[in-house]
């Protein structure tokens, strides 16, 4: 008998992600900007992932879902918290990880993970955008550099610009002033990576991080930020191949477990 096919959805504030899994393996995934339409984007990524996996919605035994816009998911789903999703999904990809640093659009989180992939403890910076991945989006807009290219540029900086404020709104204003003064874009990007990096490492230090440490979420795709955090914390950060889908993987796995579905 075939093993069950399961799906995970992570309806985040910036990106909606979906994965299709079967027999303890990832068959496919799809990522799309949320664009303010959570329901529509969730539908889109699920159909896309199903198509890539050559499965149909009726093949799915269970859908696990989490994230800010989870209520907009039109299909029946098992609701899972974002923290458990991150913990389980990262553990699935990188079993040696004991600390996950998730840099999301809405919040940065430090999650301590048990050997079995469960949440041991967590701490989030979700009251203020200055500690979240949102800063990356703001910088990208100000310096007019694609978010994909910011990491490489940042690593070239020899003289990172200093930023005096802790507020994302005022960081933006300061960055605009630096642009007007002619500060090279790599120095502005590197300076903002430092501002964000010090917020995140400060949070991590409050948790007494344990190795191995992984970085997930959109921030995990920015090599400039990752290197900054590595330097500040003095640890190497493991990066999943696709750092955006750990939450969706976790959602699928937890939903299957709750439904008593054997994965392999």
């Amino acid at each position: 008998m075939d093993t069950a096919c399961i799906a995970g959805l992570d309806v985040g504030s910036a990106f909606v992600k979906s994965v299709i899994m079967q027999g303890g393996e990832i068959l496919s995934y799809s990522i799309s900007p949320a664009g303010g339409h959570f329901g529509r984007s969730a539908d889109k990524v699920l159909s896309e992932a199903l198509e890539k996996a050559q499965r149909s919605i009726s093949d799915l035994k269970v859908i696990g879902a989490g994230g800010l816009g989870v209520h907009f998911v039109a299909h029946p789903y098992t609701k899972v918290t974002e923290i458990s999703c991150q913990s389980r999904g990262t553990h699935f990809l990188l079993p040696t990880v004991r600390t996950v640093i998730e840099v999301g659009n809405q919040a940065s989180r430090i999650i301590k993970v048990t050997e079995g992939g469960r949440v041991a403890d967590s701490l989030a910076s979700d009251k203020c955008a200055a500690g979240s991945g949102r800063v990356l989006q703001i910088i990208s807009k100000v310096v007019k550099v694609n978010q994909r290219d910011m990491g490489t540029l940042s690593l070239k900086s020899r003289n990172p610009a200093k930023f005096t404020t802790g507020c994302a709104v005022f960081l933006e204003t300061e960055a605009i002033s630096r642009v007007a003064e002619g500060t090279p874009e790599e120095d502005i990007i590197a300076g903002l990576h430092q501002a964000l990096g010090s917020r995140i490492s400060g949070l991590a230090q409050r948790m007494r991080i344990e190795k191995d440490v992984a970085v997930t979420g959109g921030g995990g795709k920015d090599s400039g930020l990752v290197k900054t955090i590595e330097r500040m914390l003095g640890v190497e950060l493991l990066q999943p191949e696709e750092p955006l889908i750990t939450g969706a993987i976790g959602a699928a796995l937890i939903a299957a477990e709750r439904a008593g579905i054997q994965l392999s």
Binding site: S13, G36, C128, R134, T165, C167, V169
Partner: protein
């Protein structure tokens, strides 16, 4: 005696011209990147309004975050002192002032016209005019309209974020849930008022309480603050100029302490500076 007060704020530059009887003229303009030239322009406009020439001005006090950039000022005074003096002159019974500016919000506590305590929010955009600017932008309404719009709300939307960036996102989410712009704005004003209130509480609120700065022109925000504070607030007829007014009042005091010769000497020096200062680019060339 003719006195001038300039308040160069982060967002708006204000000038008040005053004589012994009261205010003769007041002008406000958006703060330009080149504060220097703008300060001069706004000053000239105010003088024209009062029918005066710059030579007739006895003393100029500059305040606000751009105060050091006014070469023709005779003295610089912090905006906290200026707001306090301006309000004290307008409303002698006021004990607490909330000044809601473009980039910072201050709470000032005074007793017998003297500063007792103050608290300030300048590290975070929440609770400042900037918060309202960002929100009005995202909702596609003009900043000057959001106060009145929010007063039409019957059921304020829940806005739980303190952070401006997250509140912006929450406002969009409420919009997608079908809330009206009025209801979202009412929720936004409530959130901003509670942020301001928690800062103001640090100086121990005491009546009368006055609201000044750009935020005082927002009727929705003032109502939300009033509800939070629990007693009616006082709002000056022109809440933007209290800092400049205070500066002019301080200018008067300072001028009265000087002898006629000292004042005359100041006039001479100041005029020269003002000439150099007017059209800075052209005069640099001429001087060389």
């Amino acid at each position: 005696m003719i006195l001038a007060g300039l308040d160069i704020g982060s967002t708006i530059t204000k000038v008040v011209i005053k004589n012994a009887k009261g205010v003769c003229a007041s002008v406000k303009q958006p703060t330009d990147a080149a504060h220097r030239r703008l300060a001069n322009k706004v000053m000239e406009e105010a003088l024209a309004q009062a029918g005066l020439s710059f030579d007739q001005v006895d003393f100029v006090v500059a305040t606000g975050y751009g105060r050091i950039n006014v070469p023709f000022a005779d003295a610089q005074v912090t905006e906290i002192t200026c707001h306090m003096r301006g309000i004290n002159w307008l409303f002698p019974n006021v004990r607490t002032i909330i000044d809601i500016g473009g980039q910072d919000t201050k709470a000032i506590k005074l007793k017998d016209g003297k500063l007792v305590n103050f608290a300030m929010n300048d590290k975070c955009a929440a609770g400042t005019g900037r918060f309202l600017e960002v929100i009005s932008d995202v909702l596609g309404v003009r900043l000057e309209d959001i106060g009145d719009l929010s007063l039409r709300s019957t059921q304020p939307a829940e806005i739980s974020s303190i952070c401006t960036v997250f509140a912006e996102q929450e406002a969009l989410l409420r919009l997608s849930e079908g809330y009206s712009v009025e209801d979202i704005l009412a929720g936004i004003h409530k959130a901003n008022a509670s942020r301001i209130y928690s800062m103001v509480r640090k100086v121990e609120i005491e009546p009368d309480l006055a609201i000044t700065g750009g935020g005082a022109k927002n009727a929705g925000l003032c109502k939300a603050l009033e509800e939070r504070i629990g007693f009616p607030v006082v709002i000056p007829p022109e809440p933007l100029i209290t800092g400049a007014l205070g500066a002019a009042i301080i200018a008067e005091e300072k001028a009265l302490r000087l002898s006629e010769e000292e004042l005359k000497e100041k006039h001479g020096r100041r005029r020269l500076e003002a000439v150099t200062f007017y059209d800075a680019d052209a005069s640099i060339g001429q001087n060389v």
